[in-house]
Symmetry: C2
Subunit: 597 residues, 2 copies
Amino acid sequence: MSKILRINMDDQSHKWESVPKEYETLAGRAFTSAVVNKEVEPTCHPLREFNKIVISPGLLAGTPAPSSGRLSIGAKSPLTGGIKEANAGGLTGNRLGRLGVRGIIIEGAPPTDTKDWFSIVVGKDSCKIVKTNNYAGIGLYELIGKIWKDYPVKPGIIGCGITGQRLMKCAGVFGNNPENTDPGRYAGRGGLGAVLGSKRIVAVISDPTGGAIPTPKDKARFDKGRTALREALQKHAVTGTLNDDEGNPYGGLKNYGTNILLNILSEGGALPTKGFSSGRFSGAAKISGEAVHELVDKTKAKFGDAAEGRYAHACHPGCVMSCSNVVPYEKTGKAHVSPLEYETVWALGANLNIDSLYDVAEMNRICNDLGLDTIEAGNTLAMFMEGGIIKYGDGAAAIETLKEAYKPNSVIGKIVASGTQSAGEAFGITRIPVVKGQALPAYDPRPIRGIGVTYATTPMGADHTAGYTIAAEVLGIKGTVTDPRDVKKADLSRTFQATTAYLDAVGYCIFIAFAILDIDAGFNGMVDTVNAFLGKEIDVGEYGMAILKNERDFNKRAGFTAADDRLPEFFKTETLPPHNVTFDVTDEELDAVFKGV
Amino acid sequence: MSKILRINMDDQSHKWESVPKEYETLAGRAFTSAVVNKEVEPTCHPLREFNKIVISPGLLAGTPAPSSGRLSIGAKSPLTGGIKEANAGGLTGNRLGRLGVRGIIIEGAPPTDTKDWFSIVVGKDSCKIVKTNNYAGIGLYELIGKIWKDYPVKPGIIGCGITGQRLMKCAGVFGNNPENTDPGRYAGRGGLGAVLGSKRIVAVISDPTGGAIPTPKDKARFDKGRTALREALQKHAVTGTLNDDEGNPYGGLKNYGTNILLNILSEGGALPTKGFSSGRFSGAAKISGEAVHELVDKTKAKFGDAAEGRYAHACHPGCVMSCSNVVPYEKTGKAHVSPLEYETVWALGANLNIDSLYDVAEMNRICNDLGLDTIEAGNTLAMFMEGGIIKYGDGAAAIETLKEAYKPNSVIGKIVASGTQSAGEAFGITRIPVVKGQALPAYDPRPIRGIGVTYATTPMGADHTAGYTIAAEVLGIKGTVTDPRDVKKADLSRTFQATTAYLDAVGYCIFIAFAILDIDAGFNGMVDTVNAFLGKEIDVGEYGMAILKNERDFNKRAGFTAADDRLPEFFKTETLPPHNVTFDVTDEELDAVFKGV
């Protein structure tokens, strides 16, 4: 039986609770959003004692369902002021799933004059809240190394870095890679690392000892479902195997990772470049997924077994898509950073007019070490460039600016970690690419309107993963591409948002979307795994909408209105080359997404 | 006949319009708020082309009614995101009143790549929009000197300094002192200087040539009214003449200026000290109004006629209260800054734990030169101290930090001019004293609940002048002090807010409140002047509420909800020494202020 672990940081006490009936089918994002909406006062300060942070593995985490080990983190966001769920791969989803922990609810905070830092160690039916001052104030690579030494059981680790400990709003919740000390798995968005920091928690360590694979209610149907889903994933051109029958590489994600998108979006004129001033980046090829692939091959050829670079790298146990990578140093073949994702390459590369793969990887490494969300950090650096403090394209200056965040009293360091809106407003910038205070990701909404509708209306603040209409508008579903310029996108965005909420709850990676949208057997297989696991028929769309309703309800009570479901003004007045289009979706269409919800 | 001047900065064109019927009785804040609510899209970006800035002299400006020459500036605020009106003394109210200008509406903006700066020169039935690049990028003392040389007609001058030109959110709209080059008259709050800057306007110059004293509809009643009001002002202990019949000084404002309050509030335990952590400041006496008075007397004795320091200084022609001052340098007797107000002394003194009168005056001078609101700047500096970047009490460090704002690319300079919320959030501070993004002034709301109700509920963001319940809660009305601890203050705050809105419209300084609340003949005199001027009976409360309704309507459409009518959480959880009280007013009481409005 799953249980809920409730931790009170006022006095570092804890208790185990059974899962109440109303939460029986809820896990992952469904669980975190339900708990946050029910238990957190929406107008509370997000970085003080009344906020709570909720950790919940996806429903299927720890099971052999393919690519199902995601972990959700939820809280009131210090970046948006609204409800937040961010999820990631890594080890902790798997570990908590096998330990039978449905969720961890962390409430309260030590007195404000507390100097101590704590870590939470969760085991089979056990919890210890330990003083770990030696874990605080250090880089995350070093931290994970220490924890792996202190807990030599390959624990799942999540936590916050220096920036979260200092309550900076770009701080994400890191997770560890399955096999090395790279803190590269990020529930990055919304500043949730700062919420952990406000509770004086550095790390949550999940010791897998004594855990067991969760048992589905209907094992036969579950196994049939996961097999069908795995086959669909392996068959699909985006998520499939490394080589086709004739030995030609295909399987876009395995070869090029998510960064396969960089050249595609740039060619399509929708890659936000130089602070959302162009849709095409002349330096795209140099930092693309293809360039990473080539670098990995080159260092493998040169350094043989000593080479640490790779593509087709899995971010959590049981992932069959393996879209992650390890980017090597060209000169030594050793690991530089893992993973280097499309969003990161965009935020720290094209968005800053930087075309050096090394510089981008280096900034990614620094972000990982500091505990920063790369999307928010990249957009924040763009504000430094927009404000003329450093120059667009100057990688060395961007790296130095980012490094300032190590210093406890550096004003530059604080600003660079404080988020795009804070920095942009402080610098007098009037084209700040944020919705609900959260920075836009790597798809310009002017040429691709559906993703703009998602950015504007998701309760999460600008977020592509909240309703990834790109799948329909750029990549196509069943061979048909939805016209990206069409301005009627409320229905498309709503459908994607609801389905995504479902996926974020059951623990599947959203990249299974390509295969389940294109291959009916894959979709049915996915549904079978969930319903067989629960022993109950649940509807994908209804389940997803119920999550969104909780989130909208919280935001409404926090003071959000339709005025918050809008893109920044400049997207409506400044045209984007090369297609020279603006964001022409009406307010009415935006409001139609959640009409009556 | 009054006219409206409409300026379009898209192409620097202008036209004169007659005052439409619906605006016939509206001037000052009533005019600016009506125009902003009617013409500005509430969700527009405050620092881009769709915002408008509206300038309007109070109804009686330019007439001989005592202390009636205030000038209102209105726009959507870049600091609060809501509607804003800020008003000040100085020369421009008088000048525009005599030129027959009811209001100036400035709309549009030059193309974003424009490098030019403009000034607007308003004369009798004339307007020129001139390129004045030599006015930009310099300190305001120098600017006013230049303008007085270029326009040797003692023009009214308002405008923005370096910080407004750089779109910083602490930037106020300065006005010139009547007789020197001190840019010390500030419509300071809400970042309206940045709105002027976004229109590429440095200065609005009002040439009085050819102007005339406005004629009341009923001159006899007007004269009777203003005489009664003047007598009440002169008779009252707060606003009265310099010496009583026996030669003892009384008249609090004339002797000690607004800064007479510093010792009173500190004694009462409600002077926010060291970042709102105490209500009593041990260094209060050293920076009090009494200390300024003494310094002026000392330098007068030492330097005779060469001494420039003074108290009982009038901020605009026709003010009989003369609460302003000129603070001298102790060593030379020359003018250091004018005026040094209570709010400024608090923000840059007690709030920062600084007890050096020189340091406080020096920071005031720097703020005046840069075009910064001192309340916002002082609170922003407190965030630097709260964040450990500089130390509480370190005047030299505070001065250096403030001076950074002169440098165009200094990150510290940008932050210090960007407002309390931006700075506080960037620094990870969780006790940021703002409402609707605007910093609190010099009365702690925990021991004095009525002013807290005003801070929370005024459409303006935290602002004591929006509903100065201190008059009732600290100073008393007709000898009776309303218990400051009483938590039922919705009615009190609403009454003060409505009356204030009326005063801000007709052009009277709010300090007449002491005399009109205590002396019925004064109140009736005031009403007589307004109604005689208009030739129409208007009701003080109804007229004021109509203004507030416009403002609330704008804010609602901009996305404000009841969640925005709240004080920061820490006022409800952290007790304030020495009385150790929290802000205990319920949300229901706050919502009762404008229930149904």
